[in-house]
Amino acid sequence: MWQEYAIILVRGIGLGSVYALMAMSFNIVKVSSGILNFAQGNMLVLGGMIAYAATAYFGALSPVIWFLVMIASALIIGVVVTIQGYLTLLPLSHSEDQQSWLITTMAVSIIIGAVLLLAQGPNALMVRSIFPNIPLFGMRVPAPFLLAIGLAIFWYFALQLFMSKTLVGLAISALWQDPVAARAAGLKVRRLQLLAFGISGLVVGSTGFVAAPIITLASDSAVAYVLNGFVAVVIGGVASNTGALIAGPLVGVVAMLATFKIGGEFQGLFSMLMLVAILLIRPQGIFGDTAARRV
């Protein structure tokens, strides 16, 4: 009996690490530009597709090649997201209507989904992990769950270091505090925002690749990752990576519990109920800022 819960826990935390990584990736773009990149879910799927393509091309990858392709995947998605960010920011510079990003990021998501559907049909792709299952608490845990946890911890520390210790990272934080003052202080706002898009691409690109065996790689699976990533953002508090690191696994475990105990079709319902509950009880999230002044 307890073993079943151990499985739920480990897999939940593993899958939840993917949500945590999605949340961190949301955060950095949100901090720099206030934009929530809806296309990020499909960027994650694209990262997984790279893993699929690499296996198809090279056969079973050796760990060294795997590591190199992971970096390549991060870089490729980083570049793609930077280009997407450039296009998203384009109309914002000359229009007073500042909400076009809602449509453009969703539209990019739809376009990627449509291309995936054209390229490989409605079925999900399967990627096999090159690493053997790892014995833990007397059961065998597929390695990608643990790798995803490791990746989440890695990106957490890397981003914390970047945001608090480097000048560029501090400049991006300054955009969140006060974009007008940041611009007045001479920061190259657009360039910093593009950099933030790029970094978010690195995060999802590497995540998609590492977690490829445990996420659904299909043309229509992206929305669920966007949604769960967002739930992690809300629970953790917008712009808080510490919050994301804790909230992601929480969402993952609850989703796993719902799937195992009630049935997969209710997983979405539980994510929604969690979101509603946290918004009603503590809208600023666990680690979020308190409400701003009104007048």
Binding site: I103, V276, R294
Partner: protein, 600 residues
């Protein structure tokens, strides 16, 4: 409201009673409405003449989607509520008809009733989180609901027939009537035209204006006695009712309902249609549905597998090229070609023309503060302030930035609850009242950054003051002035009102609410020296002829000296001096402050 009963009306006629269409709809809306209705009628009739049933169905469905998008637009543009789950409201209505008529054989009118109840139910579910959270938080709640909706249709398959769907035995509705079109097409057309008219007229109704104010600035709404929560709730109710009406016509049009038809994609389509078409433009949703639904599904029907791709690319490209949408972009382009509008200066001297001076009891206090205290954490914003403002006096609040002037105004109009002391306005204790309740006591206020909303027309920004009128008495302000102002502003776009004039319009808005105490936060900032002289005269007229009590925060000490009867000087949240201008001016405690203020 004892004081107001003494204010007998100087005029009995309503200001400018002649109705002009221009006052209701601007030219662009009238043209768009005409094009939209004509297009709908032609698109419905032509396929019937040629008897092409495929096209009849397509046009009906497109109009149904336009109706749903119109109400999506009401929610998004008028009420400022982001919903990515509008398809679930639509789907609930359609499924209710399916279950009632398709599975239980009930007549269509009963199905319609069920459908509207189902739509309202989902709408209320969405409205509840909207009372607490806004913007994309709300967007995600509704988005997840839209995702879950078809999953629930699968999960409860014993009530919904799950994946196999329900076929709808309502073929009689598609048979032609003697007038040449079918019952269904007639219903769809009527609903479509009604929706278009609603989209053009609703922003010009009292409710529409109130919703826009509540969406643009909840605090301004409260100071006008509007409850933002109530506005949001109403918006969800109206939007789901309208969407429900569209949803119940879906099953007879398509002949079949299944969970796959009501995926998230449908919600996204309605949302896209509003924005890609052009937010707030009567023809916008029509353009949006044409581009995003008709073009990929019908005109490119042979490329069926590229449908989603075309759809995404169209939305993306339109937003890159025209961030304010197709119709919005065209309207902007036309406006840019016209010569820029300049606003004539407001002639305030008219505002109290021909008004009999109002007699108010002079010897009472309009505002009484005793030992009022407000702290934010360890910061003392208001430190034991005791202050009286007599009825019919102009009272200046001066002090350095951060000395507590605006905080004091916030207490006076109920935005901030005090931690200690008592505050009475018009003889009523206001501790424990919210801003709306204080507004109803006769307190009007303007803000440091003027709350003139570009979401509203130029005149509508003033009209919301009349909407918030506290008594049935005709306004004391000269009707000729109101009429002229309305004529002038009806021709203007809100964007072309200069900053300084915006403050004055906000003051006029507040005067029109019948408030007898005005709280003005830096009303003269941004005015030219000549405008300041005119403004000072206005304040005196408001006091002498309308008998208003005015508290104003101002940095221009010359202006204060010119119009204020009494002055209160604040420093670090405390009153340094209070009294008539001359004595405060010569107070040894105040002098150094003035010097620093004037040279800062």
């Amino acid at each position: 409201m004892t004081t107001r009963t003494s204010t007998s009306a100087a005029y009995t006629a309503e200001p400018n009673p002649t109705f002009k269409l221009r006052h209701l709809l601007d030219r662009s809306s009238v043209v768009q409405l005409a094009i939209g209705i004509a297009a709908m009628v032609v698109a419905t009739i032509v396929p019937h003449i040629f008897g092409i049933s495929y096209w009849i169905g397509i046009v009906n469905l497109a109009i149904i989607y336009i109706v749903a998008s119109v109400f999506m637009s009401l929610l998004l543009v008028d009420a400022g509520q982001v919903s990515f789950g509008h398809g679930a409201v639509f789907g609930a209505a359609a499924y209710a008809v399916g279950i009632a008529c398709g599975m239980h054989g009930l007549p269509f009118p009963v199905g319609v009733l069920c459908g509207i109840v189902a739509a309202l139910f989902i709408g209320i579910l969405f409205a509840l989180p909207a009372l607490r959270v806004q913007w994309f938080y709300l967007g995600f709640v509704t988005l997840s609901a839209a995702m879950v909706f078809p999953q629930m249709l699968f999960a409860f398959n014993e009530y919904t027939k799950g994946i196999s769907g329900i076929s709808i035995p309502l073929a009689w509705m598609s048979e032609d009537l003697p007038i040449g079109i079918s019952t269904l097409s007639l219903l769809v057309l009527i609903l479509g035209i009604a929706a278009l008219i609603t989209s053009a007229v609703f922003p010009k109704t009292t409710l529409g204006r109130r919703m826009r104010v509540a969406a643009a600035s909840p605090e301004a709404a409260q100071s006008l006695g509007i409850s933002p929560g109530k506005m949001r709730f109403l918006a969800f109710i109206i939007a789901s009712f309208g969407t429900g009406l569209a949803g119940v016509l879906y099953p007879p049009t398509v002949g079949f309902v299944s969970p796959n038809a009501f995926h998230l994609d449908m919600s996204i389509l309605f949302f896209f249609a509003v924005i890609v078409g052009g937010k707030g433009q009567p023809l916008g949703t029509m353009a949006g549905i044409t581009l995003l639904y008709l073009v990929p599904n019908v005109f490119l029907a042979q490329l069926v597998e590229y449908r989603a791709l075309v759809y995404g690319i169209v939305a993306f490209v339109v937003m890159l090229l025209m961030p304010s949408g197709v119709v919005g972009g065209i309207v902007r382009w036309i406006n840019l070609r016209q010569k820029p509008q300049t606003m004539p200066a407001l002639q305030f001297s008219q505002i109290v023309d021909n008004v009999k001076p109002v007699e108010r009891v002079k010897d009472e206090n309009a505002i009484e503060l005793v030992d009022v205290r407000k702290t934010f954490g360890s910061v003392v914003a208001i430190n034991n302030v005791t202050l009286n403002v007599r009825r019919g006096e102009i009272h200046g609040l001066v002090g350095a930035n951060g000395s507590g002037k605006t905080s004091l105004l916030n207490v006076l109009n109920g935005f901030t609850r005090i931690d200690g002391g008592t505050a009475r306005i018009n003889g009523k204790e206001i501790t424990g009242l919210n801003a709306r309740q204080v507004a109803k006591l006769g307190v009007g206020r303007t803000f440091q950054t003027p709350r003139i909303f570009e979401q509203l027309g130029a005149w509508d920004n003033v009209q919301i003051g009349l909407d918030a009128k506290l008594s049935d008495n005709p306004t004391l302000v000269s009707p000729a002035f109101v009429g002229n102002l309305r004529d002038m502003l009806s021709r203007l776009r809100t964007e072309s009102i200069p900053h300084g004039q915006r403050r004055l319009l906000e003051v006029i808005r507040v005067i029109l609410t019948d408030a007898d105490i005005l709280l003005l936060d830096e009303p003269a900032a941004g005015l030219s020296p000549d405008e300041r002289i005119a403004f000072a005269a206005l304040l005196r007229d408001l006091r002498d002829k309308l008998g208003l009590t005015i508290v104003f925060v101002e940095h221009d000490l010359d202006l204060v000296a010119r119009v204020a009867d009494r002055v209160t000087v604040l420093e670090s949240g405390s009153v340094v001096a209070s009294g008539d201008v001359a004595s405060v001016w010569n107070d040894p405690k105040v002098k150094p402050l003035f010097v620093t203020v004037r040279h800062a």
